[in-house]
């Protein structure tokens, strides 16, 4: 019998998604939604629509809107998604939508690629979209962001089970706090979900903004940001597996492989052919899309 030291440890099997392939959102009025997003997304994309759904595709990525009379949107959450817009078009798109009465906000975030302010808009249903100036014309979705309740559980799900790689983290380094303390808070356009103002007894009653801890995960050319929730939110029933807002992750694994991997973890899922629907430990909806049945 081989000694324990002689046993070669096999690399753990992971689902290893390689792309945020889609975002699924809710919308009250599909026509108004298309009118809002068309200028942002521009040409080189395909739209399809029926009475219940509106889908925009570009390359391997898509955004799908499900018609709901009362859309579940996350206006006050960290939850948002970033769409790639050719840098030369961003200004014109923002002006066009602002002229139609849509509020535009300029915020910055903490990821190194997002340190300069960029435009955030709220679509007609209340979904928050960030316009990410990009030279990459082919991509549609740059990133998505979720709120989470606990890093340990979230990382167990995304790193251990799904096999994501950490791209960046903020609020875990001394430098993150030093930079903030040197910044005049009134002039720093940091996005609201990137800061927290819960006081410590050491603050002696002063309101001091500090970085809200966050981790960015990389899925190929796309990112998923996880931010600690700054307040408790009502969640859909825990037995609900297919819900929105939802991030669709693409994997090259077969459905059988994905099922085998997921069965090794304490996460419930629902399978629909070569798609898997599950929720992260904070209740966020995830869909895993295998490449073929």
């Amino acid at each position: 019998m081989a000694s324990p030291a002689a046993v070669v440890q096999a690399e753990p099997t992971r689902i290893a998604p390689d792309l945020i392939a889609g975002i699924v959102l809710e919308a009250a009025d599909l026509s108004a939604t298309r009118a809002f997003y068309e200028p942002i997304i521009g040409r080189n994309s395909t739209w399809s629509e029926n009475a219940q759904e509106l889908t925009c595709r570009r390359g391997p990525q898509h955004i799908r809107f499900m018609q709901r009379s009362q859309p579940r949107t996350m206006g006050e959450h960290a939850q948002h998604f970033g769409l790639r817009v050719t840098a030369s078009r961003v200004g014109g798109v923002v002006e066009e939508l602002a002229a139609q009465g849509f509020d535009r906000l300029e915020w910055r975030e903490d990821h190194p690629d997002e340190r300069s302010p960029s435009a955030y808009l709220t679509d007609p249903s209340g979904n928050r979209v960030q316009l990410v100036a990009s030279s990459v014309a082919a991509g549609l979705i740059h990133h998505a962001a979720f709120e989470i309740n606990n890093f340990d559980y979230a990382e167990y799900f995304y790193l251990s089970a799904l096999g994501a790689a950490v791209d960046y983290y903020h609020g875990w380094r001394a430098e993150d706090y030093r930079v903030d303390s040197e910044t005049d808070d009134t002039s720093d356009a940091c996005a609201p979900w990137t800061r927290r103002d819960r006081g410590s007894y050491r603050d002696q009653g002063q309101r001091i903004l500090r970085p809200n801890a966050q981790v960015y995960l990389r899925f190929g050319p796309t990112l998923l940001g996880l931010f600690i929730a700054t307040s408790a939110r009502q969640q859909p029933p825990e037995e609900m597996m297919r819900g929105t807002p939802r991030v669709v992750l693409r994997t090259n694994r077969t459905p059988r492989e994905v099922a085998e991997i997921l069965d090794g973890f304490p996460f419930r899922y629902e399978r629909g052919g070569w798609r898997f629907f599950l929720r992260d430990p904070s209740g966020n909806f995830i869909e895993l899309e295998c490449q073929g049945p």
Partner: protein
């Protein structure tokens, strides 16, 4: 009488708490326990401070917010002005531990041989990615069976 049992844990500071915990895991074999205040319900997202278990000893590490310098560059062994955490390994595993330090490209000082009549055999000195000093030794008395700590029966 205070009736203390043993040293329970150390609260340390680091410029990058994730990086130093990764060092403890990869170099020392520590196990991640949890991230305190990395939780929306316990304080709506306070400053996250990971906890890691090395043997039966708990380390908690906080972001270093005061900008203190922990150790001079090049110094690998905690001296009179500092402190270090010392852990022991069985003598039979000491060489393997030295090899592991080399594999992980961790600079170290030693091994240093201790007096033959003392309890310690050899020690190696190094510091983690945040500059905390560590010592790993083997003990000459490792085969001695220790008496259980008799708490409250002194």
């Amino acid at each position: 009488m205070a009736e203390v049992e043993s040293i329970s844990h150390s609260g340390l500071r680091a410029d990058d708490v994730r990086q130093v915990e990764e060092f403890w895991q990869s170099v020392l074999g520590a196990a991640h326990m949890h991230v305190s205040s990395g939780n929306a319900y316990l304080g709506h997202g306070g400053t996250p401070h990971p906890c890691a278990l090395l043997g039966d000893y708990l380390f908690v590490v906080f972001p270093e917010l005061k900008g203190a310098t922990l150790s001079a560059d090049g110094q690998l062994r905690g001296g009179p002005e500092s402190y270090r955490h010392a852990f022991s390994v069985p003598r039979a595993r000491f060489e393997a531990f030295l090899a592991h330090l080399k594999e992980e490209h961790v600079p170290f000082e030693g091994p240093v041989e201790h007096p033959h009549r003392g309890p310690l055999g050899e020690s190696v000195y190094f510091k983690d990615s945040a500059g905390h000093f560590f010592e790993v030794c083997w003990r000459r008395d490792e085969d001695v069976e220790y008496s259980a700590v008799m708490v409250g029966e002194a």
